[in-house]
Structure formats: C-alpha cells, structure tokens
C-alpha cells in the first residue's frame, strides 16, 4: 500500500522583493499562507508545481511544502515554513511586521 500523501502548498519567493509567496487556488500569488491552495492529491500537486514553475517572471524557486488545514486556512507544518510564514525571530520584520500594523 502506498504511503499516505501529506497535504502540500506551493510556495516560492517574489522575484522583485524576495518576499515569501503562496499559490492560491485561483492562480494568484498570495503573501498569506492561509490563502494558499491546500493540495491533498499527489498528482494534482505535481501539475500545480509545473504551473507554478512556468511563472519565473513573477516568482523564484517554487516548491511543495508540507501543510495542514487550520481554522483560518492552511498552516505550515515544518518549523522552517513557520519562520518563512512569519519572519525572523530577532526583529519584528518580514510578514509579522504587517500583522502588527493590521
């Protein structure tokens, strides 16, 4: 029996400012992890990654990252993705700076 597929989101960095972005179900690149499309099927994930990789004029380095469903949308699983979704721990820079302002 094949191993159960861990749900994924597609993430990359924005070409101009390097900010972490996520592919949404309606083909936008969102800066908010919760807006990402949570992909629960392996074949669909591969197709979406090919779609994403073709958008090299907007983003850099698209890849699949483990995620899980949360109260407000997909949430990161691995601590690296938690940091990418938030920002560094020594200053309130990166995405958390925008949250603080909101």
């Amino acid at each position: 029996m094949s191993r159960k597929f861990t749900p994924k989101v597609i993430t990359a960095n924005d070409l101009r400012d390097g900010d972490v972005v996520y592919l949404t179900a309606d083909d936008r690149w969102s800066r908010d992890h919760a807006e990402a499309e949570l992909i629960e099927d392996e074949a669909h994930a591969e197709i979406r990654l090919i779609d994403a990789s073709r958008q090299g004029d907007i983003i850099v380095g698209a890849y699949l990252a483990d995620a899980r469903s949360g109260a407000n949308g997909p949430e990161p699983v691995h601590f690296r993705e938690v940091f990418r979704a938030k920002g560094p721990s020594n200053y309130r820079h990166g995405k958390q700076a925008f949250e603080a302002r909101a």
Binding site: N13, L15, G18, D19, V20, R80, S89, N90, H93, G94
Partner: protein, 558 residues
C-alpha cells in the same frame, strides 16, 4: 588605506553597469532565473528565506569613516536601518529589493567598495588579522599583501570557475587572530633564521561538514614569491579539485585525498614554471600599495585623564580590562567595540551606530576602523588620553558593553532566521546565552571563553573552533543543538569534540550554563582558562554536567 586607482574605479563601475543590465533583463523576462542566478551571485546577491541578501566585501576588514557612513546610508535607504557584520569581515543587508541592488552597488562604488566575488566558486574576500597595522606583537602589517591578493584574485580569468569557493586569510603576527588554519590558504608572517620576514603557508584547512586543520605546505616563503606561490596552489587545485561532488570539492578534500606531499610536489613544479613570469612588477606594485598603508602620525600626549578614569570609574575600568589590546605605539591602545550587547543580535549595527562609529573613528582613531571575524568593530589606533571620552560616547549608543573575549561575545551565523541553507536558528540561542550569563553575572569570573554557533553544517559560525561550539540541526522536524568542546581557532588550532546527543531548543541554554558551572568547579585557579581546563581534565566532568553521572563515568573509563 588603499584608494582605488583609475583601473579599479573603471572596473567596478563597468561591473555595476553590466549588473544593472542583467537585472533589467531578468525583470523583463529576457533572462530566466537559471541564467540570472550565477550573475547575481557573482555580485554578492543571494535569495534567502524572506528576501534578497546583498553581501558587501570589506577587504581584510578595513574601513574608514566615509565607507562606514556609506554603509549606514545603504542601511537606511535600501534596508531596514541596520547591517549585519559577518564572520568573514563582510557586511550583509537582509532586505534589499532586486530593482534597488544596482543603485546600492553604484553607491558602494562611490566610496571604493563592491560586492564582487563575495559568492560563487571564486577566490573570496581576503580576510586578515583585525588588529593589523596596530598590534604590538606584529612583524608587519599584512594588509598591503592582502590588497595585492585582492587585486590579483579579482576577476582573475583562470579562477572564476574553481571547483568550489576559495578563502584566503593572512596575519602579520605569529599570534593567529585570523583563523588561518581553517582557510583554503592561510598565510602567517614569520621570520627565518636570517631574521627576514616571510610567510608560513598553510593549505587545506576548512570547517563545514568535513572540518580540517590546515597543513603547512611551506615553512618559509619569501614575500617576493607569495603571488606566484598562491597562484600555483590555486592552479593545482583548479585542475585536481573534484567537480563530481560538491561536498568533496574544497581544497581540504583535495589535500586529504591526494596527500600533502603530492600536492606540495605539484605546487612546487607549477611554481617553478610560473615564477619567471613574475618579473618583479608585482613587487613594485606592492611597494606602491604599502605606501598607502603607512602608519598614521601617532601623537604624543600624557595619559593622566586615562589613569584618573581608570582609578575612579569601575565601569570604565571593566571596559578597559576586557575590550583593549596592546598597541605597538607608546600611549596608544586598540579598542574593540562590542557588537554583542547582551540580548542583541551578534554582529548587527544600526545605521545610527555606524554613523557614530564613523564619527568616533574620525575624531579619535586616525579615521580607521576594522571589522573582526568575531563580528565586532575595532578602532585600531586610539590614544589613551581619548579613551574616557570615547567610552562615554560608545555607551550612549549601546556600544559600551565590556564583554570582548568573554562568554557573551558569541559568534553566531544568521541561521534559520535569515539563511536559506540553515537547519536551525542561531541568533536567538546566542541572545539567550548572553542574557543568561548576564543575569548570573558570571562571565567576568568565567573569563576567556569563545562560544561559536552555527545554524547548519556549513559552519559559518565557526563552531568547530569554538571552545564551546554549538551546531543547530533539524532532527525529524525539530531544532536540535549539538555541542562540541575544545575547539581552538588560533595558532594552536584544534577541532572541537562532540559531547554526545544534542539538546532541544529550550534545553541548550541550560546545558551551556551547566558547562560554565562545571568549569568553575574544575579549574585549578582563576588563571586556568576554560580551554586549558578542558585540555587538562578532558571530557568527563563536562559530560557529567551535561548528561548526568553515568555518562561522565563512562567517559572517564573510556
């Protein structure tokens, strides 16, 4: 200090113009990321976790006030008001936008700086003793030779596509403050029996996943032979170094796999071949460079103000006792300004701090500054009579911390807070250790101690040569920290030994505290340093402190 000539200026400007065009073509879609990536890396531009990162070269760690003010300007204009000084004496900006980078490079060129060869498989920024030109124990200032090496290696057509990156460090003093034995080539100035100055040439050192202490390939190399000899080493490596496996591509592996004798034979043969082509023009050029590094006109003044402050002000006295080093000139001192205020990010300076340091360097330090590989700022030439005023000014900006060489003077790489390669965080671990030793008020009692933290196996934080080294890893999706003991980055270089299993993120600071307390328990006297105690008693008492009596007993029995 070296001032760009017309050639340097034209070369750097043309590279900026080229890169401006490359960025435009990337943004309009003419270049793919695969095509653009090597071009941006040649100009020091990385893409990290949250943003781009621009690494700017500070050749051999030397700055003047104009350069430092420009670095502050870049921090304010294109970043978030600060910069991060690195373990290779460079500065990194963590938040530039791609469109802005050509303007940043132009602004750097305005003050004779660049970001060329701060990345890629080339010869990187040549690092040096941060007390160069000032240290009392120095044979000669190594920076003219470092500048010669910079010019020789910059855009050297033979060495733009080496098997892997290549790092050279140089010291003019027998006391090694430049970690020369952990570099691809280490150059240590020594005198021969006739009293002439030359270099001990060390090859094949390095940290990373396969740490190696460099090996002496030549006991004594006359200075006039230095450039052809270095060229011979890099040339042999360029042909022999492995290109099939990135992890076996550094010269330390080439030396290890082929043996030092074979490498020496090949280098000597290549050296014999190319030496005649060096007609002496390089030495004439070096003499011209040397003239630009002439020592400043040191002043004569009494030290009464210093003596009085030292006797009456305990805060000043504490700072003098930890942050000053003996200077070669009468009445002068070398000041190390700590960028390790307890709880702050090691190596970070705000633009306001940079501007203040620039002002203070202009006023009190003959307009010279150095960045140390230990991520501090050095004012190399300060007359003792100016120290009380300097100290007061530094304190006003959070730069007066008296902890240089102590437990909270921690080297830490950016780790997973910034770096795309990292496997765990380093900065918050360093912050928490510093806060803890400050709360316990034990670091002055503990004395000389080098704690170094890397957030991945690549070892930018030099953990292998820390008296206490900490390596952050990802163990099954959780941060885990391994400890090594007994590392040494000086002329008695040694790679630290792993203590045993690693510690979780919330366990690592208490573990380090237990090591410090065990040392205080074990040492014979306050004069015996942590490293000396470790060398005398070995791992056992420290294992007991970390893992309990059973593990310690096993270590003793082994």
């Amino acid at each position: 200090m070296y001032t760009y000539n017309e050639f340097d200026e034209a070369f750097v400007r043309s590279r900026v113009a080229q890169f401006r065009g490359q960025v435009e073509r990337r943004l309009d879609g003419s270049l793919t990321e695969e095509e653009f990536r090597p071009l941006r890396l040649m100009n020091g531009l990385y893409l990290q976790l949250h943003a781009y990162m621009l690494r700017v070269a500070i050749p051999y760690g030397t700055l003047d006030s104009a350069k430092l003010r420009q670095l502050a300007y870049l921090a304010d204009t294109y970043d978030k008001g600060y910069g991060h000084f690195t373990t290779r004496q460079n500065i990194q900006y963590n938040w530039p936008k791609l469109d802005d980078v050509p303007d940043m490079l132009d602004a750097l060129a305005d003050v004779g700086m660049h970001a060329i060869q701060t990345s890629g498989n080339t010869i990187r920024n040549v690092t040096s003793d941060h007390f160069a030109g000032a240290a009392a124990d120095e044979i000669a200032d190594p920076r003219p030779v470092a500048e010669l090496l910079r010019q020789w290696s910059t855009d050297h057509p033979e060495f733009q596509f080496l098997p892997r990156k290549f790092k050279i460090a140089i010291t003019g003093s027998p006391t090694d403050r430049a970690v020369t034995k952990a570099h691809d080539i280490g150059l240590r100035m020594v005198r021969n029996d006739a009293g002439e100055a030359g270099f001990e040439v060390i090859v094949g050192g390095g940290l990373g996943r396969t740490p190696m202490v460099g090996k002496v390939i030549r006991d004594f190399l006359p200075q006039a032979d230095l450039l052809p000899y270095c060229e011979a080493i890099v040339s042999v490596y360029n042909l022999l170094g492995r290109r099939d496996n990135k992890y076996k591509a550094r010269i330390k592996i080439t030396v290890h796999e082929n043996g030092l004798d074979k490498i020496r034979d090949l280098v000597e043969a290549r050296f014999a071949e190319i030496r005649p082509a060096f007609s002496g023009i390089d030495q004439e050029h070096l003499a011209a460079i040397e003239a630009q590094f002439a020592a400043p006109a040191f002043k004569q003044a009494d030290t009464e103000a210093f003596d009085k402050a030292y006797d009456t002000d305990p805060v000043f006295r504490s700072w003098v006792d930890t942050n000053l080093t003996a200077h070669k000139a009468e009445g002068y001192a070398i000041v190390t300004v700590s960028l390790k205020a307890h709880g702050e990010t090691p190596g970070d300076a705000t633009s306001a701090q940079m501007r203040l340091l620039a002002d203070l360097a202009a006023k009190y330090a003959h307009d010279e500054l150095r960045i140390s590989h230990e991520q501090n700022v050095v004012l190399p030439h300060v007359h003792k009579s100016d120290l009380p005023a300097l100290h007061a000014a530094l304190r006003s900006a959070g730069l007066g911390t008296a902890n240089v060489g102590l437990a909270s003077d921690i080297i830490a790489c950016p780790g997973m807070d910034y770096c795309a390669l990292a496997t765990a965080r380093s900065i918050p671990v360093a912050q928490k250790i510093a806060e803890r030793v400050d709360a316990l008020k034990i670091e002055h009692e503990v004395g000389a101690l080098k704690i170094k933290i890397s957030g991945c196996i690549n070892a930018c934080g030099h953990h292998h040569v820390g008296h206490i080294g900490i390596l952050g890893l990802d163990r099954a999706g959780v941060e885990n920290y391994q400890i090594t003991l007994g590392g040494d980055g000086t002329e008695t270089a040694a790679i630290g030994t792993r203590t045993g299993p690693g510690f979780a993120y919330d366990e690592i600071v208490p573990a380090i505290e237990r090591l410090l307390l065990a040392y205080l328990e074990e040492r014979l006297s306050a004069e015996e340093t942590f490293l000396e105690t470790y060398r005398r008693v070995g791992m056992a008492p420290f294992k007991t402190a970390l893992y309990g009596e059973e593990q310690g007993s096993r270590a003793r029995a082994a």
